[in-house]
Symmetry: C2
Subunit: 514 residues, 2 copies
């Protein structure tokens, strides 16, 4: 009833053009829930005899901040928010959640994550399911920290599914149009579940279910004695990391620590997790197999994986690095791991030859399917742009012919093409700027970063892949980067995860105008 | 009056969809003229006491082939040709002319160009004004060969101006729309000169005039004793190479062989040659200075050059490679040389640090202005895409707002944006495929090409830059590549020069359909 708050908020809104009240309200709503999972590492800490308070305190601080934001903005419930508010929420959530997730690393005095910039990198890498690490010796981390790294991947994966299938499409980032061919009509996302909440719940059930199945199968492999290294904890750690296409592993050797059968199984989990979750729901729950097999993105995704495997296999065989089943396994695993932007390794691919290196670098720009937990450009955009190029070339020869672009039998909206082009241009520009930033900073501190390492690190971070080349390879770490470079790489992971547009719009003047 | 030829041609046309008769007629017309300049190296050979016959024979063969094609297709004069015929002519001319230009290298038994694949690379590098060389010791080449390499750049430059300003725009490759803002209306190319022939003549006069001025100024520098290495031959060789943004030099040390004043002058020539020739004509001949200074592409071109120079200067100063005027000169020269896709060098930049390397690699993707003799993506397309991204971001925030993209005060046609996008996507794809092809071939022959060298060579060839990194750096050569890789690099130069689309359309099925 006080006169003060409303006009104040109104005037802030009208002068800014963005409803900050709604933005903070939504951020608060997210943080309230994000505080809860900190109980899990606290339990692990209790069992392992480690300090519990960093986890409980952070959890309380996170949920507390959420409740506080809720309270500060609670005068009216925000039912519908605008596009601009949506962009700001997406950008803020993926900036703030990792900040809270990083706190226990610093509070707990973890020696390898004592610098706040390193802790933030690691937490960002966790929640964005990137999987690059600043920790040189992962095995020496505390047990709760180990657990939290893996869990943050898995929780991040849940966030990514909502982001990719329910939020970004509504903001038209790659958007609804990117998923268009998955939809029988313009409102099929709504048909699958009536609201964002329903869609999310169904896809989360699938995500949880697949993680459980993978964990059980891997545990069984250990229980049957087929892999002496495998136990329920390792099974959960790797199944959840693979489902999130994350790449963190509690093993310093990554998946090389396990038997061939485990490597093949994890390869399969990555391939499955790299499909669009809407498609997975259809084929696994609704049994629509023929539709799945006919889908253009599914085919291109599998095609890319086969070509990439063939290229890596060529390298391994001609360079006598491996032969027989080992060669096929190493090639298939690494191609899948990098293309789906997971980042697991079963070998130190930095010691392979230039053919493997160039192939892996190019794979970092492909990515998994749209609507998966993967990062990078994604197969769907490659498909759309390839079809667009083909159409435009045909029109170059026959000017009067007007042909729409088709994918998976559907006519693709021209806005979908424009938004794919916008994303790819921003992506390449940000990638190039990232690489340039890294070499400038290396020059500043007198480092010895090579041009290719800079390119690789920028590509691996913006693509949410994780490991790169040189010292930042799968058995190395990002620890050797300066604080400033670590911050640049953290920003690249963040930008890649939110698909750049939600941040880039914040830099336009018109965004802030009423 | 015979019934036979007409139906035959008709039926060929209707079954193929492309008027091959017209295509060969035009190709013949070009070849007839391309045979004439071989007289010049023949004269040089005569004075130097070298064999004349390879030059005269090739000249006769070239013009003879032209006349033969003319005769075979002479039944009717082709007044207007279709778009598809235009694409085919462009693709063929830039494939066939260098083949003839390569003949004297092989016929004359030039030891460093004895392999046909090497001779073809060198001739392609000459005519496309790329400037990469397979010759390890340029100083040891025969004098006529030396002269021919430089002349082929300069002749290629004339072809490029016609291609860039009169031919490709009509084929809508980047096209008329790319030059749109240079035009007061949609038909200004025609206004400048009423026909392609008139436009070409005027711009060629400018090209010839500027080359003469540059040659005279450089000769004067030598005559005044300001540069002991400079003489009229070196003046012509470097002035013509700079005007064509070519990069060949008769000096093994490239422009490092000359005094600082010469280096500064050549830097200026490259900057001038990097402007759009229509713009140059307006500002130099028609004195429209204010319009020039206000132009968006002019400003972005200069802006890019300044930023690039600053980045290289940072490298040189912080790494203690040079200081004072030397540092500024080396930085400005190399930034200009690589960005305008010339390829001259005043230092071995491969020994500079990663900041310089990454900067130079990125510059290879920028290029000079549209309508210049330069290659690569070109500043105009960067400008258009940057404006398009800004517009699309603004629309992402404000959906209902429909804003056109503007450049240099003009509203840019959406087709111009689409054609810029098409080009950039094809360019990046071809570049990536080129790099992959080089490492695959290196694996095949057991070579030791590094990933970065492969990336650099692909970028330098498709961008018509010339020198790359590693052994293909400015003081190295492309001689160490296998025959197959040399062919790949030759194809990349060709594709970059014709701006890919004329070749890519040939690969679509619809091109060949009636
Ligand atoms: K990852
Ligand atoms: K060049």
């Amino acid at each position: 009833m006080s006169l003060w708050p409303r006009p104040s908020r109104r005037s802030r809104r009208s002068s800014l053009g963005v409803d900050l009240n709604a933005v903070l309200d939504l951020l608060g709503g997210v943080l309230r829930w994000v505080g809860l999972p900190f109980i899990a590492p606290a339990l692990v800490a209790a069992f392992a005899g480690e300090a519990i308070w960093p986890w409980l305190l952070t959890g309380a601080a996170t949920s507390g901040t959420g409740l506080l934001l809720d309270r500060l903005t609670a005068e009216r419930r925000v039912e519908r928010i605008g596009t601009r508010e949506g962009f700001l929420v997406v950008a803020l959530v993926w900036l703030v959640v990792p900040a809270f997730a990083a706190l226990p690393f610093v509070l707990g005095g973890e020696p390898q994550l004592s610098k706040p910039v390193d802790a933030y990198f690691e937490a960002m890498s966790g929640y964005t399911a990137t999987g690059g690490t600043v920790v040189p010796h992962v095995e020496q981390l505390g047990e709760a920290t180990q657990f939290w790294r893996q869990l943050s991947h898995w929780l991040g994966g849940m966030g990514i599914i909502v982001l990719a299938i329910a939020v970004l499409p509504r903001l038209r980032v790659g958007g609804r149009q990117l998923l268009q061919s998955e939809l029988a009509g313009p409102t099929e996302t709504e048909k699958l579940g009536a609201t964002i909440r329903d869609t999310a719940r169904r896809l989360w059930s699938l995500y949880v279910g697949l993680t459980l199945v993978a964990t059980l199968v891997l545990s069984l492999v250990g229980w049957l004695g087929l892999d002496p290294e495998m136990n329920p904890w390792q099974a959960f750690a790797h199944a959840s990391s693979a489902m999130a296409l994350g790449g963190f592993s509690p093993q310093g050797e990554s998946v090389a620590a396990f038997a061939p059968i485990t490597q093949w199984l994890l390869c399969l989990v990555m391939i499955v997790a790299g499909f669009n979750f809407l498609r997975l729901f259809r084929v696994l729950i609704q049994q629509r197999v023929a539709e799945f097999a006919r889908d253009d993105e599914v085919r291109l995704y599998v095609g890319f994986l086969l070509v990439a495997t063939a290229l890596l296999l060529t390298e391994l065989l001609t360079s006598d690095i491996a032969s027989g089943e080992t060669a096929v396994r190493l090639a298939a695993f690494q191609a899948t791991s990098i293309m789906t932007t997971t980042g697991f390794a079963t070998a130190d691919y930095t010691t392979w030859g230039p053919l493997a290196t160039v192939t892996l670098l190019l794979l970092m720009f492909i990515g998994a399917s749209a609507g998966s937990t993967g990062g990078s450009i994604k197969v769907k955009r490659h498909l759309l742009l390839f079809r667009m190029v083909r159409r435009d070339l045909a029109q170059a020869a026959h000017r009067d012919v007007v042909v729409p672009v088709r994918a998976s039998g559907w006519v693709v909206d021209e806005r979908a093409l424009r938004s794919a082009v916008l994303f790819v241009l921003l992506y390449m520009f940000t990638f190039a700027l990232g690489a340039l930033g890294l070499v400038i900073d290396s020059e500043r501190v007198g480092g010895d970063l090579t041009p290719f390492e800079a390119i690789g690190a920028s590509a691996a971070c913006i693509g949410n892949v994780g490991p790169a080349f040189g010292f930042a390879g799968p058995y190395g770490s990002y620890a050797d980067f300066s604080n400033l470079s670590t911050a640049v790489l953290t920003a690249l992971m963040w930008l890649g995860r939110v698909e750049i547009v939600p941040v880039a719009v914040l830099l336009t003047r018109s965004f802030w105008r009423p």
